[in-house]
Symmetry: C2
């Protein structure tokens, strides 16, 4: 076998010629990557064909004992990347500017890069991919989305001969932990977030997670891969979970649902008047909304928001810090990928898979698939997106309120699926679930409802997803 390998490789690396690795950043994931590189050196050598040798680890402070030889540590990431004995760079620093410079320097130098930096990728994949293309280096980023779960590679490779219509995922562990706990305990948002922070499931500054920025970056990456179209974080419509109340979970439960922060990437057919679930649209008004100005060209909708989903939906049972991604494609049908979406070791597993593939490519002369954005589908604005809504109203407890409320829905062309009246007097409320309606029509309806004398307040408006299933 080694004979054959030696004869076959063309990458310039022999079986005895080690492949040098630089790791940038030694947080949770970096620490695990370094551990695996050192502890599993024999297995890795056998799988790559040549030894993977850790050349150094870039850290902010070298005066902390990190359990590895001190001479491996450096604060100079730039110099480490530039070393002639470094062939592969693992970027786990996070952040934008320094990480971007380091990755570009590596790629321009023909060094393959493995990164988990979703925020950077969501904005700069085009630039990074071009740099990789220019020097025939590899850019791998499986760990940027959904931790240990293989999602990036299946989308790039396994789906490359299919037509993806939808990707829906729970891709942020912190918010899923908070929403799962609220659902289970009935506690409010603030208290549950505090508990999540105490347990280490939320960071001291949880903004990126709870406001949906992290999920939006991942959605941009997933949509780019699914639709062969460059999608950046700015293209993603985003709402966080900070406004979700215990009452939202309670009213969701009353209709057999729970609330999840979903990342939704959808192809919106530009022809044939198809609805988002793939069925033919019956009502002309909705079809007009789905594809009013695009003619024959599909559009792409990418959005992150908390939504009700039925408890029988496969994503409803994904609890705690777990992630799951559902991919729907024309020929493959519906696929689901499930596993640990965060944490040092799971994320390191994804990084190491990429690292071994990048090393094998160095050794055998292979290449990772490059960026594919030929389709250049336009992004549909959120106002055009038809979804179902779950509207919670506090109302005056008197006759006629239901008629007044349903009249406002009808006026704006929003069809009601169910209405439920609850409570009495001051506590009286109406919970309205609509059929599919465009965001713009619903917004106009809500504005009109707020004007009604009989409506005390519009307590919450949440989308309802996954009901076609």
């Amino acid at each position: 076998m080694t004979e054959a390998v030696n004869q076959a490789h063309t990458g310039g690396f022999g079986a005895e010629h080690p492949i040098g690795v630089a790791v940038l950043g030694m947080g949770n994931v970096g620490t695990e990557v370094v551990r695996i590189l050192l502890e599993h050196a024999d297995d890795l050598r056998a799988r790559v064909g040549a030894p993977l040798v850790l050349r150094g680890v870039a850290v902010r402070r070298t005066d902390v004992d990190r359990g590895i030889p001190a001479e491996l540590l450096t604060t100079d990431a730039e110099a480490l990347v530039a070393r002639s004995d470094v062939d592969l760079v693992v970027e786990l620093m996070g952040g934008m500017d320094t990480a971007r410079k380091a990755i570009l320097a590596a790629l321009h130098g023909g060094k393959s890069v493995v990164t988990a930096n979703k925020a950077l990728l969501a904005d700069y994949t085009g630039e990074l991919a071009a740099a990789a293309e220019g020097s025939r280096a590899d850019l791998y980023f499986e760990a940027a989305v959904a931790g240990a779960i293989p999602v990036v590679r299946p989308l790039i490779q396994s789906m490359s001969g299919d037509r993806v219509n939808r990707v829906v995922g729970i891709v942020n562990g912190t918010t899923n932990f908070v929403l799962s706990a609220m659902d289970e305990t009935g506690a409010d948002y603030a208290g549950t977030l505090a508990e999540a922070t105490r347990l280490g499931y939320a960071e001291a500054d949880p903004t990126a997670d709870v406001e949906g920025y992290d999920a939006a970056a991942k959605a941009a990456i997933l949509a780019s891969l699914a639709f062969h179209t460059r999608v950046t974080a700015a293209d993603v419509y985003r709402e966080g979970i900070t406004e979700i109340t215990a009452e939202d979970l309670e009213t969701a439960d009353a209709v057999g649902c729970t609330v999840k922060l979903l990342a939704i990437c959808e192809r919106m057919p530009g022809t044939d008047r198809l609805a988002l679930d793939g069925s033919v649209v019956e009502t002309p008004s909705l079809a007009d909304v789905v594809a009013p100005q695009t003619g024959g060209k599909d559009r792409v909708s990418v959005r992150v928001y908390p939504a009700l989903i039925p408890r029988r939906h496969p994503l409803a049972t994904v609890n705690g810090a777990f992630n799951a991604v559902v991919v729907e494609a024309e020929n493959a049908g519906r696929l689901m990928f499930y596993g640990q979406g965060a944490g040092g070791a799971p994320t390191a597993s994804a990084v190491m898979g990429d690292l071994v593939m990048a090393a094998r490519n160095k050794f055998y002369g292979g290449r990772a698939p490059g960026e594919s954005v030929y389709a250049e589908l336009p992004i549909a604005p959120i106002g055009d997106i038809p979804t179902r809504y779950h509207v919670n109203l506090r109302v005056a407890d008197r006759t006629g309120v239901l008629q007044a409320v349903s009249g406002k829905f009808a006026e704006h062309g929003v069809s009601i699926s169910t209405v439920r009246q609850e409570g009495y007097d001051e506590g009286a409320r109406l919970v309205v679930v609509t059929h599919h309606a465009p965001e713009s029509a619903l917004a106009a309806t809500v504005a009109a409802l707020a004007e009604l004398d009989s409506v005390t307040s519009v307590t919450s408006v949440l989308r309802l997803e996954g009901t076609e299933e």
Copy 2:
């Protein structure tokens, strides 16, 4: 983009130089592959970088109208493969000898091969991989296991930096359809199989499916990839579902379980006395069983059999013709992949993903990862495998029978977890669920039970899996 691609490629294929494809076999999957090649030519060209052109389809009879130009059809697969304008070969004929010859001829000629032929791969992957290595061609086979679900690629690539400890899957749609229907309706095996045949879920000769041969071939492939060890179909312990009765499903239900045909690939630690679920073994007798003669080296157990699993287990909800595979790895933790495991279009999706990757490699000069069997772990015989058992006995309805039965279990060192007595007189039965015990000890126990005067018959012995979860 096209400019950059033209400059970058090294595979000898320019953007205007088409990549020729031969398809061998035009059954369900072949028909879909041909349809996708013709209907989605533009997308495929954009994704590959050059057009994919169908050169011909090898079929048994050319006098059938297959909806494609007649000049594309040929009965001479060998000549089609040998054509100088064929660069990629898709083998969907099935069977052994002809398929093997065609694949070897292609690979020896430097033509990459995509195949879904699980039976062939289970026995000849070594030979095929060596041929691919020799000519630097690619051998892809995602479609051989679990249809549309990406499992092969994640195991080869995503898990390449991790240590897989277990792969458990429902990988045969026919048997899963039958067992799901028996569970739901209470009908017996023969009637349910007849219905499955009528609905097209079972073939006229269902032997390969219902006897577990199909699942065993897939298990061999999965185990080879998971453990970097060559595992062939002959290494797989195999039992089919033909002996499963309505009563088995009924007694399974009574303990909160259903019955599934499972493909189980397990690493059995040779050191540290680890149990199969990864926990440290408490009882010395079990540890002696787990690793009696292997010293420090891990062993591999690969087996296919119907087993009880708790209804709360993730695999218990995989019904009908769906497949699912659970992968447990040291760092990634538990991953699950779910989707359509069979059918023309889903399987064609997997074939097309492989075909696009193979074509991109031709165009960009890349390579698929080759075979990795360096670990060469020994296969553990089934007699060594500790599992839990669910034993169904028809007994005389008299005092003392429980004592006699439990005595036999104790004599052979098989520890009982629960015993349930049901019925009276002629219909009296005992259902015994054991703790983990080696197959050999259980077999001796069953032989001894059959000798007891108070035991009328041992109605069934089924394994119980997935209870640690």
